[in-house]
Subunit: 187 residues, 2 copies
DNA sequence: CGATTCATGTAACGGGTTACATGATTCG
DNA sequence: CGAATCATGTAACCCGTTACATGAATCG
């Protein structure tokens, strides 16, 4: 995720409610883990940057004897920036290329039996994530826009599983053809 | 795309045929444009690195009065590395998060009418890419593993289009509700 | 003749991740 | 009491992209 979308995300969350960095990171990990991989350090850094740009305002707060924390609030300039970033995001399309494509393109370079086992591992990983997404789905208001995003991610995983089945079918055919000479062709 | 997958990709191509950098870049742009966004400079750099590691061997060649070019060939060490990388790739899953999800999650923050227009732009971009992918599909041997990768990318785009339709439907509902007070809820 | 293609690089930049540091606090 | 949580940062590092440079060759 690039700087712009990190800013969009953080501004969007701060628009709902002022928060401190830790709180934001918690929220990200709890509710948006499957949509973004924004790391705590990066979030803190982005918040500082935005504070320097005047997009957010920080004010220190002490709760009991806990470490001082910076409460961030979006500024009017931040609101404007937020709109800009949101418009840009909605009007664009990021193709989001998968590393999986590269491996599969060279699938014929491994013995089919070995390939099958490796793909089984991949399948398990996808299934695992999908299960977590399905669980998360229950915790999101079905009428909210966030639900739409989650829905996309869910379908993405379902698609990958379906597609993987076809890859496996392709492998089966390759395995069957192994009996007779003449192996699978290349790019 | 990270270093490992770049290496996997380049090694896989060099395994088929020895090539010079420019030739590789041409091939990438012509045949694998939709699957990877490996830039020329990065490809050259990766090749040098792999040469230093002994994964590939370069030897200079002069064709006519053209600039000298480095022909790269995969080495036995490279073959071993290739297998490793391929295994790792096949057994793993990279979730490939989309920036689109972030924007959509905040969809309710824009006037529905404006959002609709922006999403129309997004749709056009996806459709455009899909058309190019469909055209590219005809040029790929349907029995090859590369075809499987392309198939995934194609479905990815189709999914995004379908999903976008649902987002639009959601917007229509929001627009309809605009008449009566009570706006769309937030994450 | 001017523009594009061939073919390779380099230098600089910003960007993001990892790993680590800190220090108090609450929980088991 | 030791471990995890709260809360924030920093420093180092690699990494990838952009932009630019070069210089001959061919195409229109």
């Amino acid at each position: 995720m690039d700087l712009q979308n990190r800013q969009l995300l953080l501004l969007g969350l701060l628009r709902i409610q002022t928060m401190h960095g830790y709180q934001l990171n918690q929220f990200l990990e709890e509710h948006l883990d499957f949509m973004t991989s924004l790391k705590p350090s990066t979030a803190y850094y982005t918040l500082e940057r935005m504070a320097a740009e005047g997009l957010v305002e920080a004010h220190a707060e002490q709760a009991g004897n806990r470490p001082t924390r910076q409460i961030y609030a979006i500024t009017p300039a931040g609101e404007i920036r937020y709109r800009e970033l949101l418009r840009r995001n909605l009007a664009s399309y990021d193709p989001c290329e998968s590393a999986d494509d590269i491996g599969i393109a060279f699938l014929a370079d491994l013995p089919p039996e070995e390939a099958r086992q490796l793909l089984a591992e991949k399948r398990a990983l996808i299934q695992d994530r999908l299960d977590k997404i399905l669980a998360a789905e229950d915790r999101v208001d079905a009428a909210s826009a966030t639900h739409l995003s989650l829905e996309r991610v869910k379908r993405q995983h379902q698609l990958d599983l379906e597609w993987l089945s076809e890859v496996e079918a392709w492998l089966e055919r390759a395995l069957a053809q192994e009996a007779e000479p003449g192996s699978a062709p290349e790019p």
